[in-house]
Assembly symmetry: C2
Homo-oligomer: 201 residues x 2
DNA sequence: AGTATCTTTGACCACTTGGTTAAACCAAAT
DNA sequence: ATTTGGTTTAACCAAGTGGTCAAAGATACT
C-alpha cells in the first residue's frame, strides 16, 4: 500500500524513459520492467496493457508541451513582451523535457486521430489564440498575411533544435555535446531577436 | 532477369512507403512483401535482411534531403538570391518527399552514430558552408552573432511544417487537408520574407 | 495466531517476428 | 529435349512478443 504508490511511480519513470527514447514500437515491456527493477507481470498488474501504459506517458508528454500555447495570450502589455514571454517560457519547458518534441512528432504520425481528439479535449481554442494574436498584431500596426504562419514559425524555431539535435549537433558542432548545450541556451534570445526584427517591432 | 530489376524496384518502392510511414520498428517485412505483391522469402532473396533493406531506404532519404545544403553556396550574386534560392529549392524537394523529414528525425535518434558517419561520408564540409555564409553576411553588412543559428533557423522553418503536419493541420486548420496544402504552398515566400526582414536585407 | 487483502514473482502461453530451406518454376542456351 | 541459371514459392523454425496465472510474500486487521 505504501510501497505500491512508489512502485507505480518507478514504473512510470521507467516507461517514460523507454518510450521517449524508443517510441511505442521500439519499446519492450521487458525493458521497462528491467529499468523499473520489477517483474514483467507486475507491469501488467499496474497498467493492464502496453497501450494503457503508453497512453499514460503520451498524455503526460502532450500536457507538458501543448498547453504552453496559452502563454501566447497572457496579459503582457506589449506585443514584444507577449511573444518574448512565449518564446522564453516554451524554450524553458522543452529544455526540461528535451525528448518530448521528437517523441510527439513521431507518435502522432502513428495515430493522427488521437492528437486531434486530445487537442479538442484539452480545451484549447485555436480560433481564440489566433484571434487574440491577430488583434494584437493589428494594434501594433504589424501586418502579416496570415498569423498562422507566425505561430508555425515560432513553434518551428523553438522545437526543431531539440527534435533535430543529433543532426545539428553532429553536423554543425562536430558532435560536441557541451558546445551544443551552450548553443541551446542561446536559443531563446536568438529567436526573440529574429522574430522581433522580422516583425519590425 | 528482365523481371528481376522490376521486382527489385517494386520491393524498394514498397519498402520506402512502409518504412517512411512506420519507421524501422513499426515496419513489418510481411507488410512490405504484401505491398510489393510478392512472397516474404523473395524479400530476403533480394535484400538479405531487414537491416539491409532499411539501410538502403535510409540512405536514399538522407541523400534527398541533406546534400541540398550545398545550395547555400551556389553562385548567386546577392545574399537574398542565395538564401531565397536555398529556401525555394529546399521546400520544393521536401514537398516532393514530405515524409522524409519526420522519418530521418525519428530514425537518427535510434542510431545517432550512423547520421554522423553518413554526414562525413557525404563529403559535406560544415566549416566550408559556415565560412561561405559568414563571408557573405559580412559582405552585406549583416551582423549575426553566430551563423549556425541562422542555418538552424532556416532548416527549422522549412522542415517543421512537414514533420509536424498532423498537429498543425489538426490544430490550426481543423484537419482540413486542402487548406493545409495551400498553407504549405505559401511557405517558401513566407519564410523568405520572414528571414530577409529579420536580417534587414 | 489467523485471515483477508493487496503485492510480487516464476513459469507459462499463444502468437508474431525475421529469417531459412528445399523444391518448384521458368527462360535461355546447348 | 535437356540442362543450366536465376527467380519464386509454401512450409517451416527459433527467438521474441505482450499477456496470463496460480502460488508465494507481505501487510494490516480481528
Amino acid at each position: 500500500m505504501v510501497k505500491s504508490k512508489e512502485t507505480e511511480s518507478h514504473i512510470h519513470d521507467a516507461a517514460r524513459s523507454v518510450f521517449l527514447a524508443k517510441g511505442y514500437d521500439g519499446a519492450r515491456m521487458q525493458e521497462i520492467a528491467d529499468e523499473a527493477g520489477i517483474n514483467k507481470a507486475l507491469l501488467h498488474y499496474y497498467f493492464r496493457s502496453k497501450d494503457k501504459l503508453f497512453e499514460s506517458i503520451f498524455q503526460e508528454a502532450f500536457s507538458k508541451i501543448v498547453p504552453q500555447l496559452f502563454t501566447l495570450l497572457t496579459g503582457s502589455f506589449t506585443l514584444r513582451e507577449k511573444l518574448g514571454g512565449f518564446i522564453e517560457n516554451y524554450i524553458r519547458v522543452i529544455a526540461e523535457n528535451p525528448f518530448v518534441p521528437g517523441f510527439i512528432l513521431h507518435e502522432m504520425n502513428r495515430n493522427p486521430d488521437r492528437i486531434v481528439s486530445m487537442l479538442s479535449a484539452s480545451g484549447i481554442q485555436p480560433a481564440m489564440i489566433l484571434g487574440a494574436l491577430s488583434q494584437e498584431l493589428e494594434k501594433n500596426n504589424v501586418y502579416v498575411p496570415d498569423p498562422r504562419h507566425l505561430i508555425v514559425n515560432l513553434l518551428a524555431l523553438c522545437l526543431f533544435p531539440f527534435a533535430g539535435r543529433p543532426i545539428i549537433q553532429g553536423f554543425l558542432f562536430g558532435g560536441d555535446k557541451e558546445a551544443y548545450e551552450v548553443f541551446l541556451s542561446e536559443r531563446a534570445e536568438i529567436i526573440k531577436e529574429f522574430v522581433f526584427k522580422s516583425l519590425g517591432i
